[in-house]
């Protein structure tokens, strides 16, 4: 019988570090936080049983300090590391460095991380495992004329994307041969600059795609299950903004087909732990492999809300060698869950990143509401890290109920001191096309005008002006000032 670790180090920050620690506490496992000094007073450090400071050339660099994290495990006696997402979560060398030090990496084997981390290699493996892939170049495109020839064969429009890319970097769309030449040069040079790898991949571009992904869980004993899908079509510049489970576009039959496909791929690469197979769903119902993320996803809460399964707990048990305690037939999707990512950004001003001191923080609570956040009142939101500061999610019996609950929860999310996108998120959820499930990855761009802010009406403006006047010490200071006019205010009790 395998045993769970007694102490786990969480190699991350913010809301995901807090979320992982919540499960550690529930499992009776002690937690160790690592932090850069900017995060010294953050919620993750407060929630952890122990905390170790890391140093780096930049604040982000501290969380990428592999020797520092290995040393922190040694100093605290942590026998396993949960990497969260981002930072070192998909870094195979990090997992190997931990293994060399006798520390368990709570995640997949390095070989699976490597093969799925390369877009070209992962597509080849997916095709070999019987997963539908978009028509495209079988290999890295070496030069511009080859790219044009392949594009003509596939048919325009085509998408160019960096082999080593991510987050939309090194991606370009081309509608004809001339655009293809320009797109190739730009995608390739951007990829070379960002990732040191200028190889570019050409594939068919789908006009109104949905982003649908399948959550898989695999143990070390050969069992691979899927936990249904999440639709993450509401994106801005390839970054997800709103995610839901199930997808409004999928029926039981497609769900089973996508699930079986994702399980087949996980089996083919010897996958262990939680992973996500991302796919593009076309309007005609056909789906194609996009990529596999070999880590916990930001949007995992919606799957947890509908299935009742704690994915982080499963990752920890699997890493300890335990077999999955349930089978595919035990996985049930109950109701509907939607998550909105709260970013410190000014949605009304070209999504400019925002900073500032959070003077007042109030998160909503109530039936079906889940908030994952990593902030404390008084905290400085800086430009040093990712601008996502919280995830607000709602679960309901129906999609309409989940939407209504999430809208209400966002209206009650109070983050004063920096600008956030909560009002924008609520406008997205309120859009009739969203309510109708007409979601695709161009949604935010297509509906930009309808999603613009509505100015306050006269009554609202009067209330706000009056509140500001009554709250401001200005009027009291003036009365207290030792000036002749001010002293005439002596009638004031």
């Amino acid at each position: 019988m395998s045993e769970l670790p007694e102490k786990v180090l969480v190699a991350n920050r913010g809301e995901i570090a807090v979320r992982v620690m919540r499960t550690l506490r529930a499992l009776g496992i002690a937690s160790v936080a690592v932090y850069h000094r900017e995060d010294a007073d953050g919620r993750a450090v407060r929630e952890a049983d122990e905390a170790v400071e890391l140093f780096g050339d930049t604040p982000v660099g501290a969380y990428l300090d592999v020797p520092g994290i290995v040393a922190a495990c040694g100093a605290t006696g942590a026998s396993a590391v949960h990497p969260g997402f981002g930072f070192l979560s998909e870094n195979a060398s990090f997992a190997e460095a931990l293994a060399e030090a006798g520390i368990t990496f709570i995640g997949p084997p390095p070989s699976a991380m490597r093969s799925m981390g390369d877009k070209i290699e992962s597509k080849r493996l997916a095709a070999a495992a019987g997963v539908p892939t978009l028509p495209g170049s079988p290999d890295a495109v070496s030069d511009v004329e080859e790219a044009v020839a392949i594009a003509a064969e596939i048919g325009f429009p085509v998408l160019m994307k960096a082999s080593a890319g991510g987050g939309g970097k090194g991606m370009r769309i081309a509608n004809d041969a001339a655009e293809c030449r320009e797109a190739f040069e730009r995608a390739s040079s951007e990829a070379a600059a960002s990732f040191g790898d200028g190889r570019v991949f050409v594939e068919r571009f789908i006009g109104r795609p949905r982003h649908v992904e399948v959550q898989v869980l695999a143990d070390g004993h050969g069992t691979v299950l899927h936990l249904g899908e999440r639709e993450c079509s509401i994106q801005r510049r390839y970054q997800k903004v709103i995610e839901e489970s199930p997808s409004p576009a999928i029926d039981a039959e497609t769900r089973a087909a996508m699930g079986a496909t994702a399980v087949a791929l996980a089996q083919a690469v010897g996958y262990v732990s939680a992973g996500t197979v991302e796919m593009i769903l076309d309007e005609d119902g056909s789906f194609y492999f996009l990529e596999m993320n070999t880590r916990l996803q930001v949007e995992h809460p919606v799957t947890e809300l509908v299935t009742g399964i704690d994915i982080v707990a499963e990752q920890i048990r699997i890493a300890a060698g335990e077999p999955l305690s349930f089978g595919q037939d035990d996985v049930r999707m109950d109701g509907w869950a939607i998550e909105a990512r709260v970013y410190a950004e000014d949605a009304d001003n070209d999504f400019m990143p925002a900073i500032g001191r959070l003077g007042l923080v109030r998160f909503p609570a109530g039936e079906g509401i889940r908030v994952d956040h990593g902030v404390v009142e008084g905290q400085q939101v800086s430009a040093s890290f990712d601008p996502m500061i919280a995830k607000v999610a709602a679960h309901g019996a129906t999609r309409a109920e989940a939407i209504a609950r999430l809208r209400d929860a966002l209206r009650r999310t109070v983050l004063l001191g920096t600008v956030t996108n909560t009002a924008y998120l609520e406008r997205v959820l309120a859009h009739p096309d969203f309510a109708a499930g007409e979601t695709h990855t161009n949604f935010l761009a297509v509906h930009a005008e309808a999603l613009a802010p509505v100015p306050a009406d006269a009554d609202v403006e009067r209330c706000l002006v009056a509140a500001a006047a009554l709250a401001s010490p200005r009027y009291d200071q003036r009365l207290a000032a030792p000036e002749p006019l001010a002293s005439m205010g002596s009638w004031r009790p």
């Binding site: 990143p353 956030t420 609202v460 009056a466 509140a467 006047a469 709250a471 401001s472 200005r474 009027y475």
Partner: protein
């Protein structure tokens, strides 16, 4: 004399407050409204005539941040007398067009610069941009160092004020 209160980028309202116990009369653009602001729940309750609204408030100097009607708002308070003393925006101080981090500082106090010269390089949203001098002059002060972060509108570099801009008194 009333203060001017502005909601976001909107028009300024002339606002005065006269308190009487827990009640107050708020005069907005010449019209009187009876109102109060009292702690309620984990925030406040505003009453204005026959309307009552729950809200949350943070006062940061002359900036008042309010969460009400399901979203946050920013209001600014200006004393028209102070403003008339202070003067308007000038070309003496280069300010940040967006929040970000200082990547490079190209000048130091005492340096002579020409209009268009790069003063410093900032990074925002993973994009670098140059902050340039708005006129010829001498650098008086560089307010930030490499790796410092700043908000939109922050003062970055000041030039020695031009002689004709200096007031006689």
């Amino acid at each position: 004399m009333p203060f001017e209160i502005t909601l976001g980028d909107g028009d300024a309202h002339a606002v005065d407050v006269a308190r009487r116990g827990g009640r107050a009369t708020v005069t907005i653009d010449g019209r009187d409204y009876h109102g109060s602001l009292r702690p309620a729940g984990d925030g406040y309750e505003l009453t204005l005539e026959d309307r009552a609204e729950p809200l949350w408030i943070v006062v940061q100097g002359d900036e008042v941040l309010v969460h009400a009607f399901g979203r946050s708002w920013s209001l600014s308070i200006v004393d028209p007398i102070e403003r008339s003393r202070g003067g308007g925006p000038s070309e003496d101080v280069a300010t940040a067009p967006m929040p970000g981090t200082v990547v490079r500082v190209e000048v130091a106090a005492g340096d002579e610069v020409a209009k268009g010269d790069v003063l410093l390089v900032i990074e925002s949203m993973k994009m670098q941009s140059e902050i340039t001098a708005l006129r010829d002059g001498t650098v008086e002060q560089v307010f930030l160092a490499v790796d410092d972060t700043f908000d939109r509108g922050a003062a970055l570099v000041a030039l020695v004020p031009e002689p004709e801009a200096v007031e006689a008194d």
